[in-house]
Amino acid sequence: MTHPGRPDHPYVLVIDDEPVIRELLRRHLTKLGYEVAVAESGEQALTRLSQVHPDLVLLDMRMPGMGGMECLNRLRQLYPRVPVVILTAVVEREAVLEAINLGAQEYLFKPIDLETVTRIVQNQLSPQT
């Protein structure tokens, strides 16, 4: 999963409208050794994607503006090779299924637990997969 001309660390893009979640995930993923970029909306994420080339996207489903599902849809069309993990409430099973159908790789339930985040992110970015 390394790319020529890029840092040796995998790049994770966190998209969430909630500052505390962005900061939490940025700190945690940085500690785990990843490069982290953040975006506070789907719109901002799509413009940032032309500059950063993430190896993984963590995407909140509940956001004002374009919303997680729409953002996921665009991501899959524009960058079909970048895996996406969605962040969602525990009960939104239909949303999870819809997202998986749209091509999301994994889901994280909120309130998020960092140990689960670690496991899922490492799983997505491990060289075996």
Binding site: E18, V20, I21, L24, L25, R27, H28, K31, R62, A89, V90, V91, R93, F109, K110, P111, I112, D113, L114, E115
Partner: protein, 380 residues
């Protein structure tokens, strides 16, 4: 001349019986006759009558005794008494015992038929009144159910909103606590305090997730199913928990229950909830027992979960399906279990209610309409 009725003519004189029988039959009524009290009673036992024309002076059992005996089991049956001259006092006594009116022998047939018509009219009105009362009772029950479900729905919306709002701050509290805990330079006390914060925030997380679950109001995915199998699967889940709490679990699940239409997962959640509640209410009490049984009653599969525990105090009976109502110690119950059950049962066109008297345990009765052939083919 009014609608046809079933009329019983009771007289020891055959001539009178024949006359009245013929005339009333001509009026369109169905007439049976009895020559004495015993025959009258056996006729009244065999079928319902709107009206009896009853002679007062009869050997063995007089008219008054017949009236009293019949009203023991057919209180709606009207009595028109027939009496000879000089026994008006007895006729009045009969009216005090509930007879509609009396005629004196020899009677004028026209007059008697008029009286019969009036009496039947009254009897018909009473039937209508009873039907209205039944309908009113039914409406009141439905209204109560409706109020309960609306209450649940609005609280559900509120709960969902609050829970979603709490999701992110809870993530923050839990997550940043976890980040702090990774610091190897923490003192023992600091670490222990942070672990407390983390454990407490996990508790909050569980509550938030339960709230969301409660408010989900997900449409059930219904299939044709055998409730007996669902019950058995649920029992299998909990049967080892009962002996270890010192509670006996008695199951009476017949093999061939008619099918109902339901969401297996949701129904299992309901039964599980009731069984766990019952076991918790019983634990630590001597000779405690929980019974779960299913039966077919009037086109419904009825499930009962009964315990012989402390029962539910009267003042709590109206609240037990309310969200957040719990009598469990703080932290052991969210108070959402039974209201979730209530919501699920309603979405199954079923009913759930509870009866209990303090000291004698509680019984939860659930009722599900049996799947009919019309339901089976079409909509799923």
């Amino acid at each position: 001349m009014g609608s046809p009725a079933r009329i019983l003519v009771i007289d020891d004189e055959e001539g009178i019986r024949a006359l009245l029988s013929r005339e009333l039959t001509l009026e369109g009524h169905e007439v049976r006759t009895a020559g004495n009290g015993a025959e009258a009673l056996s006729e009244a036992h065999a079928g319902r009558f709107q009206l009896a024309l009853c002679d007062i002076m009869m050997p063995d059992m007089n008219g008054l005794d017949v009236l009293e005996a019949v009203h023991q089991f057919q209180p709606d049956m009207e009595f028109l008494m027939m009496t000879g001259y000089g026994t008006v006092e007895t006729a009045v006594a009969a009216m005090k015992k509930g007879a509609y009116d009396f005629v004196q022998k020899p009677f004028d047939l026209e007059e008697l038929l008029l009286l019969v018509g009036k009496c039947l009219e009254k009897s018909g009105l009473r039937t209508v009144i009873q039907e209205l009362k039944d309908a009113k009772k039914k409406l009141e029950d439905m209204q109560a159910q409706l109020i309960q479900s609306e209450k649940l729905a609005s609280i559900g919306q509120l709960a969902a909103g609050v829970a979603h709002e709490l999701n992110n701050p809870m993530s923050g509290i839990m997550g940043f606590t976890q980040l702090l805990l990774e610091d190897q330079t923490l003192s023992k006390q600091q670490r222990s305090d942070l672990e407390t914060i983390y454990a407490q925030s996990q508790r909050c997380r569980t509550i938030v997730q339960n709230l969301l679950q409660f408010s989900r109001r997900q449409d059930p995915k219904k299939v044709e199913l055998d409730l007996g199998l669902i019950l058995q699967a649920t029992i299998d889940l909990v049967k080892y928990d009962f002996p270890s709490s010192g509670v006996a679990l008695v199951t009476r699940i017949p093999k061939d229950l008619p099918h109902v239409f339901g969401d297996p997962q949701q129904l299992q959640q309901v039964f599980l909830n009731l069984l766990v509640n019952a076991r918790q209410a019983m634990a630590g009490r001597p000779q405690s027992q929980v019974t779960i049984e299913a039966s077919l009653e009037a086109g419904h599969v009825v499930v009962r979960v009964m315990d012989n525990g402390p029962g539910i105090p009267k003042e709590n009976m109206g609240k037990i399906f309310d969200p957040f109502f719990t009598t469990k110690p703080v932290g052991q119950g969210t108070g959402l279990g039974l209201s979730i059950c209530h919501g699920i049962i309603q979405q199954h066109q079923g009913t759930i209610d509870v009866t209990s008297s303090p000291g004698e345990g509680a019984t939860f009765k659930l009722s599900f309409p049996v799947l009919t052939s019309e339901d089976g083919g079409g909509k799923r």
